[in-house]
Symmetry: D2
Subunit: 313 residues, 4 copies
Amino acid sequence: MSGVTHAKDREPMELGIIGLGKMGGNMAERLRRAGHTVIGFDFNADAVKKLSDAGSKGVSSLEELCKAFTGRKAIWIMVPAGEAVDKTIEGLKPFANKGDIFIDGGNSNYKDSQRRYAELQKQGYEFVDVGTSGGIWGITEGYSMMVGGDEPTVEYLKPIFETLAPAADKGWGRTGPAGAGHFVKMVHNGIEYGMMQAYAEGFAIFEAKKEFELDNAQIAEIWQYGSVVRSWLLDLTADALKKNPELDGIAPYVPDSGEGRWTVFEAIDLNVSAPVITESLIRRIRSREENNMTDRMLSVMRGAFGGHAVKKD
Amino acid sequence: MSGVTHAKDREPMELGIIGLGKMGGNMAERLRRAGHTVIGFDFNADAVKKLSDAGSKGVSSLEELCKAFTGRKAIWIMVPAGEAVDKTIEGLKPFANKGDIFIDGGNSNYKDSQRRYAELQKQGYEFVDVGTSGGIWGITEGYSMMVGGDEPTVEYLKPIFETLAPAADKGWGRTGPAGAGHFVKMVHNGIEYGMMQAYAEGFAIFEAKKEFELDNAQIAEIWQYGSVVRSWLLDLTADALKKNPELDGIAPYVPDSGEGRWTVFEAIDLNVSAPVITESLIRRIRSREENNMTDRMLSVMRGAFGGHAVKKD
Amino acid sequence: MSGVTHAKDREPMELGIIGLGKMGGNMAERLRRAGHTVIGFDFNADAVKKLSDAGSKGVSSLEELCKAFTGRKAIWIMVPAGEAVDKTIEGLKPFANKGDIFIDGGNSNYKDSQRRYAELQKQGYEFVDVGTSGGIWGITEGYSMMVGGDEPTVEYLKPIFETLAPAADKGWGRTGPAGAGHFVKMVHNGIEYGMMQAYAEGFAIFEAKKEFELDNAQIAEIWQYGSVVRSWLLDLTADALKKNPELDGIAPYVPDSGEGRWTVFEAIDLNVSAPVITESLIRRIRSREENNMTDRMLSVMRGAFGGHAVKKD
Amino acid sequence: MSGVTHAKDREPMELGIIGLGKMGGNMAERLRRAGHTVIGFDFNADAVKKLSDAGSKGVSSLEELCKAFTGRKAIWIMVPAGEAVDKTIEGLKPFANKGDIFIDGGNSNYKDSQRRYAELQKQGYEFVDVGTSGGIWGITEGYSMMVGGDEPTVEYLKPIFETLAPAADKGWGRTGPAGAGHFVKMVHNGIEYGMMQAYAEGFAIFEAKKEFELDNAQIAEIWQYGSVVRSWLLDLTADALKKNPELDGIAPYVPDSGEGRWTVFEAIDLNVSAPVITESLIRRIRSREENNMTDRMLSVMRGAFGGHAVKKD
């Protein structure tokens, strides 16, 4: 993969990574392959072992992680948004020195990142927030990273970003001060919801148009080349439809992580009308509602004024 | 009911009514009570018998209906929108004279009414379209009627409208030329969809807010008096919730008749953005989708790029 | 006005009212007319004078207000939501006794009401939140009130609610514990947004349908009697259209107070899909966006892929 | 450009093209470069001259175009959807033979294509509908083509499709019988509306978040590499933002061609809920509404019930 320049092109660095799941584990490996020294921790011992087996340094505690550094510590935290981030930072502080860098690469709310930055600054530490996109494909294709934080700190971490990104100078950038990385990533996910919903509605229309006996897998594949709607999401969709054209065994149930709803809240707070991102979120919520109360109310109301027959359970 | 002025106040008329269901049957009776002569036909012999028993003249064919008139014929057609209206008119014509009036009081598309008007005019007949609102309550409360057609014809039918309306000079009016009655009624129903959806969403929020143990029936009743959202729909809703506070046995399934979707089409054709009426229609459609294809596509896409767990059927 | 039963029917009470604007001033007068003793304060001396002139007791400070009571104090706070409520309560406390009742009748966020209740309880005071609907018409028609708080406190205030409501036993009720009043009022306003948007879209469609030369004022009036969409909002709309059928001088600019957006946030937090209330809010936001950025982006994108002409400023 | 295989790899064909604008002209040139014989006509003589200058055969009438063929005629019609297509076909018929093929490569409504197919079949001609995507970039990148029609006819035209597509076996396909090509293209454009709206909303949120001083051009560029939202549309957007980061001179005015609204109509007719595609259309309509009537109505209503100040023009 051309994006992974060998370390000889750049200064190799030491990086701690906490959280070695789908994302963190792959990032660790991508960094190792490029010559960086990765020190990894996870509460799951298997994940640590997998890291060690691949040639990085797996450790079994936050203390051990900190002590394994030979110089200034840069620690990438890749844990679920919320309390886990605060707890991790608190757990690291006793072993950290002034100037050490905490990097939150997860899906934190940008307001938490602003708060953490302010608190850590007062205590003499650095904090950088990184919105990371790329999913399970990042290990080979690289990650898109939106970075918020002070310029010198971001500059110091450049070799890490240049390795994780699809290419040294592409796919990552400092978008602004602390918080700006997670803010941009938040909206990125909102857009993603909208795009996904648009595609999904289109394929649902095809499925309903029985008279043409359309083949969703074929259509997705056609569109991958030359069409205005071609995209990476479409590439993945085409692959998925090829493997499972009838969506066998797939339930109509769509979770949402925090970022879509934060985008909606933020748009309203900023007085920006964002109906499509909002509606995409609402439809995910709708997919999880059982025995929909709104629809039952509507049915009752129709019966009340029109004497319309009401469908029973 | 104060709205039903006795015929002595106005010229009593002869009116034929075709279609003696929920709406037509009640209208016939409201007219009879006010002193008009009603001649009624329905393919359902029981409905005709009921009319006769009440003291109006039930007939068993379109021919018989026409022959029962002593003078100029005014025939109110209350049959399902579409082909049935055309067939009824065709069935009446052999027994009709120049100047006779066909009234379409059903939920026809206004474009059909424009077409029927044009055709009948050429043949020497009159045509009036009446958008009729009021549901099953109209027999006592009166009907709201939006009338399209030539002014002299509408004027001629005034005693009928004055009787059917809640009050002689209230709740009905000529809104414009032929088609304008059904057009206004179409949009009326679009608005109705939006209002119903707004209420229903509100009550669904209450139902979900477990911490307050809110009582939807109580809230609806409170709002009936003095609140900004009080309305006739709310009155009916309050009654319905009192009888069935938990919506026992009600399925989350909401039909739509033609008018909501016609309103949406018309808004788009007119380049008027009408998101709430449109969304209200879409949600009714959504209530009837099983194993929602859009949501299944979304689930597959999430799995494809993020390795997210996909809920199985 | 039948709703204002004379105090002989009920125990007359002493009530302090802080905030004598459109709402507070009218409520004070409605209470006075029914025989209650009203003690009123406002930073605006004119408002206080108006109250005194009408026969109630106007005071010039919170201290004076408290001292004017002869017994247990019940003080209705009718000030803008937010900090002003907290400041008012803080300003009253030095002159309050254990057991005195603070009533927040404004449009506070229900979470603030829950917090205030908890704080005041600890300090020995009572707190009741009242969502008040009715607008400028309440003085004659009565107010719809949704009350949250402890049952004994609400019971104690019953003579006040029975007077302010359209009728003693109608238009008000305790909907649940502290916070439940403002919660129900919040959703009430969300529903109001949806209803208003539905009507407005309908009239916009009529205005665009040039071929029929429809008369919005006439249509609104027809619908007031017998139609499914009749409501108090429609009554007001019909009046407004009669006075200003062409909406002369009205700008397409629609503010929103907090409650609509809180309803949207709450629906999302509760995982209830509420697309119509949400879209109604979004459209109000849209009405205030100048040189819409989304649309400018769309225009640029169309130009980029399709070579479509881009309209210039 | 790798997609343009030289004709030696495939049978070179004769193809007539009517309509040599942005799309038709570029397609003609792409075909010529690959060794096909292109006979082109346009009412605009300059466009014909440009074609001739490039080495294809420009003609000055439909008759001349037909007579320039040495064998079975295949004529690609690339004119505005609607009447122009019918007129072109009618103009060609006097010079056509049984078995000749009319190809509609424009943005026709699929129902028109079904009708044209049926009519032409009866008369002994073939008809194929091709939904063509790719915009102004197709000349070098190739076109995505969704083809509807009889299999033998589509098979016969294969060398044309293989040349126009980005690669011989990629980016085109027969999606079904006549009409199915334009149907799939119609929905393609609906999806495109949704994707564009999602991106545009995101960038509008960034623009409003003054505190971070975000740079839309930079963000778009970051996302091009490795992000989940990367796409061809985003590539073009990034280019456009680089050239004009402040969108100088761009008006917030967004046209829509027929396909978005047809998609919305079709979804409703099929009882498929497609809220995001629909809302994207509605927002384009909204962008063109001046002195928005809905918002003015809302403003009047607010004034009527709440005594709220109404913003004047």
